[in-house]
Symmetry: C2
Subunit: 125 residues, 2 copies
DNA sequence: TGATTACCTGCGCACTCTTGCAGATATCAG
DNA sequence: CTGATATCTGCAAGAGTGCGCAGGTAATCA
């Protein structure tokens, strides 16, 4: 949470304790601080990117995005990843709320459940 | 590199060695395989996401995207990250080709150098 | 030249994450 | 019930990573 305060007649966004050391360029430092935005929002996006950062998970997500609700076995065959690794990856993605699985007899079919991630995947696909 | 081949009169995209185990749904497995696309492309995106996955680096990138060419010291002050950590993060980003620094006297100003990442940052900002 | 500023880098610690193996659970077929 | 299929889950190994500390380099100023 950055607090606004005045200094030299200009609104600054840098907390006082950090501003003690002289900046190279006040204006740019303030624009940078403004560009960061809400730390919680940044953390949430970092978490999303972290989920997409593993080649195996990214491949699985691209497959799920393309093939809609799809069984674990079919994902393993389509991607060439061992079914154990697929199951582990899906657990991580499920816990994070990025995918969700629905049981149908012996089969569990997975689909995307985070619209932001879906949009991101369509953008890079 | 997936190869197309015929089976049961339908074009499949699953390599033969994986297709030995029976699929739950052939059609969906093939759509999934098609959705994966080029593995090299997927790996490149996974690498990009990995760079964005660290909260510190993501914060720095948002700051750089917002404030254009900006000095290391100003980045440290604006983000509240130690200058050592900023320098380390910038080295990683520089090596990956996401940012580039230009020297101006004692100061090195950093700017974005990967349009894809820039677009991504503007999208979430 | 010597001091200061701005930035970079090697090292080491602590932490996290992915994966394979082995075993457990759940559902269906006979 | 028995066996087979589909999926899930602990555990341990191995690799990778971010950060602080201390020290190094480059450029400016007195």
């Amino acid at each position: 949470m950055l607090e606004r305060f005045w200094q030299d007649g200009i609104v600054h966004l840098i907390p006082r304790e950090r501003a003690q050391r002289s900046t190279i360029d006040d204006h740019q430092a303030c624009r940078a601080a403004a560009g960061i935005g809400d730390p919680a929002r940044t953390a949430a996006w970092a978490r999303r990117f972290d989920l997409l950062a593993d080649p195996g998970r990214l491949t699985l997500l691209l497959a799920i995005e393309a093939a809609g609700p799809i069984a674990v076995t079919d994902l393993a065959i389509a991607t060439g990843i061992s079914d154990t690794a697929v199951s582990q990856a899906l657990r991580v993605l499920r816990t994070a709320g990025v995918v969700e699985g629905r049981r149908d007899g012996r089969v569990v079919r997975y689909a995307m459940s985070d619209p932001e991630v879906s949009a991101l995947l369509r953008r890079i696909g």
